[in-house]
């Protein structure tokens, strides 16, 4: 029998529906893989093998009774620990929420369970999704299953969805949820040789997702194939009255619409993304992508996104500003940690609680956000950044007059080693250079693996689409996937 943990989401869904194996066998296989890898990879904050088995038992019973099965029936998944899960600790990888057990379920996770998916556990992440390497978690670093050949140095799985990316690459789950504020689905996907899509802002409900920067936060699927991402996104997306920015649009049948024939399509190559000093490996991967899309029938056109260089600085004003406001809720009163020093009053309790509960990067961003929103600085920083954001969004709108989808690298390099960039916050921020612009404009964007670099580590290519055109992004991603033939997987050392 084939190793069930090596199957794609689609193959598991079809195999369970067809009776080739039971949902229970699948859940047991992944539960064992999770348990075996946990000490080495630290991809999960809590594991929930009983939840995976419970969901599987229901699917097997439904199938035996001849009842219709959901779109994800029998598929066990990992849930980023930013989604509130009823009765299961939800921490955002922060000490300030340790022990918090939501009495409700996030909209997106509920949709996944309703479709027959089961939960293997809550995946580790950068604290409050702030980070690009998963080194800011209060529950320890996630270790990438990838290693440079002949080297045992621990590599970053990317961030913030680093538990998700590591778990999928290591075959601990066939798919997982991610969230993307400035690249937190795409960059970890690229670092670990998997796929992930951030849909148009508003496609997936934010209700029940721990908020970081609300005008940017979007949930999306991470999996090994484009088809798997399409299947899972169909389940995750949809209107939710509980999220004021939820899009009231029907969810397209993205899986059914998959089509790698790009004849008649124009692919834009943004000249500003060809940075001075772009690594030869990344440049080659980008050129490969251009050739593959041409081979799929697309016409390649040169485009300009003139405000690209201002996207990152604008993001590092807007996101911390929103975070400083969103994270004001952690006060030691209603939930989470409380630190009440002897004789302290209410204000001292707030300050002591937040000092004890938040990690260094979270504090840095809250302080940055508080500063740029403070009296006298608001216009110079925040309003200016929001104006620049308008210009960045306009750049994309103008570019899409001449093309249907944009191709760019996902990240400026392959995975770096843990500790390599964590000393200088600015250097870490620069890793988001290619992913942040699409976030600022709310556009659908996806990363697909393109190959291995000269060190033997995965690289990703990014596709950015027009608002609501996830299908165009998925189709171009599929064309690359079919031609890249990426089949590398990390050698099992854990």
């Amino acid at each position: 029998m084939t190793d069930l943990t090596d199957l794609t989401l689609a193959a598991i869904r079809d195999g369970v529906a067809g009776g080739d194996f039971t949902a229970r066998e699948v859940a047991e296989g992944f539960n064992a893989a999770v348990a075996q890898a946990q000490a080495a990879l630290n991809a999960f904050i809590v594991t929930t093998p009983e939840k995976a088995l419970e969901a599987a038992a229901k699917v097997d019973a439904d199938r035996a009774a001849g009842k219709p099965l959901g779109k994800l029936a029998g598929v066990p998944i990992g849930m980023k620990d930013l989604f509130a899960t009823k009765g299961v600790q939800t921490t955002a990888a922060s000490h300030i929420l340790e022990g918090f057990t939501p009495p409700y379920e996030s909209t997106v996770s509920q949709k996944l369970w309703d479709a027959g998916a089961g939960m293997l556990g809550k995946l580790n992440l950068d604290q409050f999704a702030m980070g690009s390497s998963n080194e800011t978690s209060a529950f320890g670093n996630v270790i990438s299953p990838w290693r440079r050949p002949g080297d045992t140095a621990a590599l970053a799985p990317g961030g913030s969805s680093g538990g998700s990316s590591a778990a999928i690459a290591a075959r601990l789950c066939p798919a997982a949820t991610g969230t993307d504020t400035g690249g937190s689905i795409r960059q970890p996907a690229a670092f670990t040789g998997i796929s992930g899509i951030k849909p148009t802002y508003g496609r997936c409900s934010r209700w029940g997702i721990v908020a970081f920067a609300s005008s940017l936060d979007q949930a999306g699927p991470m999996a090994r194939t484009v088809q798997d991402c399409a299947i899972m996104l169909e389940v995750m997306a949809g209107f939710d009255a509980k999220d004021a920015t939820s899009l009231d649009l029907p969810v397209p049948a993205w899986e059914q619409g998959l089509n790698a024939d790009l004849r008649g399509k124009k692919v834009g190559i943004p000249r500003e993304y060809r940075l001075d000093g772009l690594s030869a490996d990344v440049a080659k991967s980008w050129d490969d992508g251009i050739a593959w899309l041409k081979d799929a029938g697309a016409e390649v056109v040169d485009i300009s996104l003139p405000h690209t260089k201002y996207a990152l600085p604008a993001y590092y004003i807007i996101a911390p500003a929103e975070a400083s406001s969103n994270l004001a809720r952690y006060d030691g009163v209603r939930y989470g940690l409380r630190d009440l020093p002897q004789g302290a009053g209410l204000q001292e309790m707030y300050a002591a609680t937040r000092a004890a509960g938040f990690g260094a990067e979270v504090k840095r961003r809250i302080l940055m956000g508080t500063y740029v929103l403070s009296a006298g600085f608001y216009d110079a920083y925040y309003t200016q950044a929001q104006k620049v954001r308008t210009l960045i969004s306009r750049d994309f709108a103008e570019a899409f007059a001449a093309c249907d989808v944009i191709l760019a690298p996902t990240a400026p390099s392959a995975a770096f080693a843990l500790g390599e960039k964590s000393a200088d916050p600015l250097e870490m921020y620069l890793n988001d250079v290619f992913s942040v612009p699409a976030s600022l404009a709310g556009l659908p964007a996806m990363s697909v693996p393109s190959g291995l670099d000269s060190q033997g580590l995965p690289l990703g290519l990014q596709l950015i689409g027009k608002p609501f055109d996830e299908q165009g992004v998925l189709n171009a991603g599929l064309a690359i996937e079919q031609r890249a033939g990426f089949s590398a997987k990390p050698g099992k050392w854990w």
Binding site: P103, Y201, A355, I366, K387, R389, G442
Partner: protein, 100 residues
């Protein structure tokens, strides 16, 4: 623009995060590094440009004017609301005595 220790102490107080003097001293160069970098936004000509308010055009909705229309966000769930409170007492959130 740049910050000094007094400014960082002020911001930390506004943000209700207690920092030691050592932490404040460490934060000054870090924040100044970030601020010097974001300073480049000032060179962008934004004449006549409106600040972004919504990336995807959307309209604000009103919910149905019905009490508890959605049981998850409606009322009557005091126990659930208090369940995670560090100090819930007599059906309320407990806090240190506030006398002003």
């Amino acid at each position: 623009m740049s910050v000094d220790t007094a400014t960082v102490a002020k911001i930390a107080s506004l943000a209700r995060i207690k920092l030691t003097e050592g932490e404040i001293a460490g934060m000054v160069p870090e924040l100044n590094g970030i601020l010097a970098w974001v300073e480049q936004l000032a060179e962008v000509d934004v004449t006549g440009v409106e600040p972004m308010t919504a990336v995807i055009p959307n309209t604000l909705r009103l919910r149905a004017d019905v009490v508890g229309a959605d049981p998850l966000t409606g009322g009557g769930i005091r126990e659930a609301v208090l369940a995670n409170a560090p100090a819930a007492e007599h059906g309320f959130f407990g806090v240190p005595k506030v006398i002003e």
